[in-house]
């Protein structure tokens, strides 16, 4: 059964983007990461990707997903207004713009992922909504050894109180500390 894995990289002080909305300072190891076991297993295990509209736009040229995105799988984008033109797709990477609620987006992504996982790559607001709705099975947080001081925090909402998590694994890829937690949605 597919699991929903929500993952982002944050600074040690908890930000996923700086005050200009950029996550660049959290990925000084982009090339190293692309060639890591962590990325290889994410690629192997991901059957569909779910992302928010702003995360989708962060690619700049959204046609580039089909050519260069690591996760060549069906991509589901949560948005209130789908783009007028469908971005470039290929045999493996397709786009679905979901205008309904997060639960419907997760259900569609799970169906597409079949027995592999749904990887949620952000943004923070999408992950928060999913956590709140009890739809995240695994929380995958990478911590980079930088302070951003200000910007957008991943965990910045009182609704998070009392959501139970259990440590699954902690590892290190260069400067990056990778942590995975199981979310206890039944308690």
């Amino acid at each position: 059964m597919a699991e929903v894995i929500a993952g982002m990289t944050m600074s040690l002080d908890g930000f996923v983007a700086d005050r200009d909305g950029s996550a660049g300072r959290l990925y000084p190891d982009f090339d190293e990461l692309a060639d890591s076991d962590v990325m290889r297993s994410t690629i192997d295990e991901t059957g569909a990707v779910l992302m928010g509209r702003r995360t989708f736009e962060m690619a700049g040229d959204t046609d580039s997903y089909a050519d260069t995105y690591e996760l060549q799988v069906p991509i589901f984008v949560l948005t209130h207004r789908p783009p007028e033109a469908m971005p470039k797709q290929n045999d493996r990477l397709t786009f679905t713009f979901v205008t309904g609620d997060v639960a419907s987006a997760v259900a569609q992504a799970k169906a597409a992922a079949a027995d592999r996982d749904v990887t949620v790559v952000g943004g923070a607001d999408v992950i928060l909504q999913l956590l709140q709705a009890g739809l995240v099975d695994v929380l995958s947080i990478d911590v980079m050894p930088v302070f951003l001081g200000e910007g957008l925090r991943l965990f910045d909402d009182p609704v998070l109180e009392g959501i139970g998590i259990e440590t699954i694994a902690v590892d290190r890829v260069g400067q990056r500390i990778t942590t995975r937690f199981r979310v206890l949605n039944d308690t």
């Binding site: 302070f147 001081g149 009392g162 902690v170 942590t179």
Partner: protein
């Protein structure tokens, strides 16, 4: 000269205490399990006069916690969750007659107060000239040993932003508190360089230690 160490337990969402902290509720709401990784250990229980407890991979981390520490610095809020003048019969700290420091403790405050010797080697000294003054006195007291910044959050932030911390260790408990007192807030992103030098994980907590220097 020893190192200056900041060492704190935080929730995954970055809080060292929940909302509504007070003298009777020093860690705020929802924090019953925050320090469980330490308070469930035999070594911690023994040092607090309690029996039983576990011995596991967190034991070594807990034991090194106070090893080679010659002086502690803490903020007024850690001492009594209060602010303002001390009053006629001032609180003697959250730790009973025999606090677990067994060393001089420099408490940052705006309000002068006589030093307060306790049992077991702890003396609380009240410092009114800021973090620089506290560090000078703590270093003198510690000699070759380390100085540990034990919180609260604003004290740790001030020391980090002033470039005075050599080592930062976070004990990240797998908890989401949602609200409360955030440890790493208002930091000067351009002034501080971090280098992870050790990661130890157990089911109850992840210990991440960083070397800290000026960028």
């Amino acid at each position: 000269m020893g190192k200056v160490i900041a060492d704190m337990t935080v929730s995954l969402d970055g809080f060292i205490a929940g909302p509504n902290d007070s003298i009777d509720n020093p860690l705020g709401d929802g924090t019953e399990h925050l320090h469980e990784w330490m308070t469930s250990l035999e070594t911690w229980r023994k040092s607090h006069g309690l029996e039983g407890g576990e011995h596991n991979q967190d034991t070594e981390i807990a034991e090194e916690h106070d090893r080679n520490v010659g002086a502690y610095i803490l903020g007024r809020r850690m001492f009594d969750n209060g602010e303002g003048p001390w009053g006629d019969d001032p609180f003697r700290g959250h730790w009973g007659d025999t606090p677990p420091f067994h060393a001089p403790v420099f408490v940052l405050t705006h309000h002068p107060r006589e030093s307060l010797p306790m049992e077991g080697g702890t003396t609380f000294h009240f410092v009114t000239d800021g973090i620089g003054g506290a560090l000078t006195r703590a270093r003198e007291a510690a000699g070759e040993q380390d100085v540990r910044i034990s919180g609260g959050a604003t004290v740790v932030q001030q020391f980090l932003n002033a470039g005075l911390v050599d080592q930062l260790q976070l004990h990240i408990a797998p908890l989401l508190l949602g609200d409360g007192i955030r440890l790493l807030d208002g930091l000067d992103a351009s002034a501080i360089r971090l280098e992870p030098d050790r990661v130890v994980a157990s089911p109850k907590v992840t210990h991440i230690r960083y070397r800290v220097s000026r960028a």
